[in-house]
Amino acid sequence: MPAQGLDDLIGLLSSRGYEVWGARERDDALGLMPIETAAELPRGRVEAAEAGRVRLVEGPRDAVFDHTLPMHGLKRLVHPAEEKLYATGPDLVARDEAVAANPVAVLGVRPCDLAALETLTQVFEGGPYSDTRYRQRRDALFLVAVNCMRPAATCFCASMHTGPRAEAGFDLSLDELLDGDRHVFLVTAGSARGREILAELPGEAACAADLDAAEAGSRACAAAQQRRMVEGVEGLLKRNLEHPHWSEVAERCLSCANCTMVCPTCFCNTLEDRSSLDGAEAERWRRWDSCFTLDFSYLHGGAVRRETASRYRQWMTHKLSHWHDQFGMSGCVGCGRCIGWCPVGIDITAEAAAIAASEQGQTRSGDET
């Protein structure tokens, strides 16, 4: 498909009733929001991300999707920051609030965010109970993935085995091939809905060289990643629940909860009541919560996790270790958002590595004595 085909794709999706969302530049950063045309995508721009710093700069080439990640994953679309669940009067006959799940097509979903969506699906549907509200929103999504050709400095999906190439979980996937004047997209269908759209897109059948170029691009992108998660982190953290490093991190951590807000898998939420002034009507709302807040662990009398060290440990061990026990998979997909959006630049890969290094240090000195 030629590069101009993106507008055809947007048109086809719109005509099928989807509101099309993509990464758009706003305040020197990328947000995930509705778009009308491909021109709104941050063409030629790339994310200059570092620990504690994310901004958009001019990239070296005129690619549409070199920019990597918007600050939001797909979480907002399937698990809104707040939603009304029901309303009741004093008779407690609850009136269910219908889910307004308008069809949304997301253009340019990264493999890590696809993996994050799988993770959320496991949380809301993999246990004894299934969240029908989640399912309605999930079913309303049409996902156009983009395989990454350029990593941000904060990316570590290769070491989490979630990218940079999407193997499944999309309706369509794109590989952006830019070679001199030739700018095309290799389009792959991953679902029946995707095949229908693909059949109507302009362009010709992909040649073997393009397929090879796409694969090579993904390999190069994986190799170019500057960060990686240490091997065996699940067991590492379980062995080190009382490691002094947690306190060391706590000296820097502000408990601001930014990491949990930008994390595409952080699902924790709370339920609260909102009453009318006369108390006759009450609404029950679900909204995002964070394990970094003090009252998250409130138990009659006081909070269980009072220290920042305990709350940071909760977040990181949950993500990388206890998630496996609870949901049979990692809670981290290696998107690196928590690294970039942390105001003090705490780096989950570096903290894991520091604990791993101290363990190796102990082993060495143990061997010597």
Binding site: L294, D295, Y298, H300, G301, G302, A303
Partner: protein
């Protein structure tokens, strides 16, 4: 007859959890310091500040360890029950009881002459060490349970201070 009576005291000693598995030779020696006693309900086994010259292995009935406080009467520190030991202050100087021990109902016990036992422990460290090893866990257990009670774990949150 005297032989038979001593034998039965030795058996009673060995049958009490405090002396479970006691070397029969030591049991015979200790039996020389022991005799069976009975207290009616309300009677004191010993009282605070008295010389700690006798302690008791409870065989039947319950005993309350108490402290008297003007205006509040008798405060029960702990109750003791069959299989337990009444009195630990006999082991260490100044050999004086700290609390009252009062029979709640009819009490059957084996009393041990503390001065006699201390003399035997001093004379034969093997016996002394054995007796110490049996008493220390009791003292330690009472310390541990007292610590937990001190923490007032069942207190309603409002009373321990509601901190978020």
């Amino acid at each position: 007859m005297a032989e038979g009576k001593l034998k039965s005291i030795a058996d009673l000693l060995a049958a009490h959890p405090l002396f479970a598995g006691l070397d029969p030779a030591i049991a015979d020696l200790l039996a020389g310091c022991a005799r069976n006693v009975h207290f009616a309900a309300g009677a004191y086994l010993f009282q605070a500040d008295d010389a700690a010259d006798t302690f008791y292995l409870l065989r039947g009935g319950d005993v309350a360890l108490e402290l008297r406080m003007p205006g509040r009467g008798r405060l029960t520190v702990q109750t003791l029950h069959p299989g337990e030991v009444v009195g630990a202050s006999w082991i260490l100087p100044p050999y004086r009881w700290r609390f009252d021990a009062r029979a709640i109902g009819d009490v059957r016990a084996t009393s041990l002459d503390a001065a006699c036992l201390r003399a035997k422990c001093d004379a034969d460290p093997r016996i002394g060490y054995d007796v110490m090893k049996r008493f220390l866990p009791i003292v330690a257990e009472r310390l541990q349970t007292t610590r937990l009670r001190l923490l007032d774990l069942y207190a309603p949150p409002a009373e321990v201070g509601r901190q978020l």
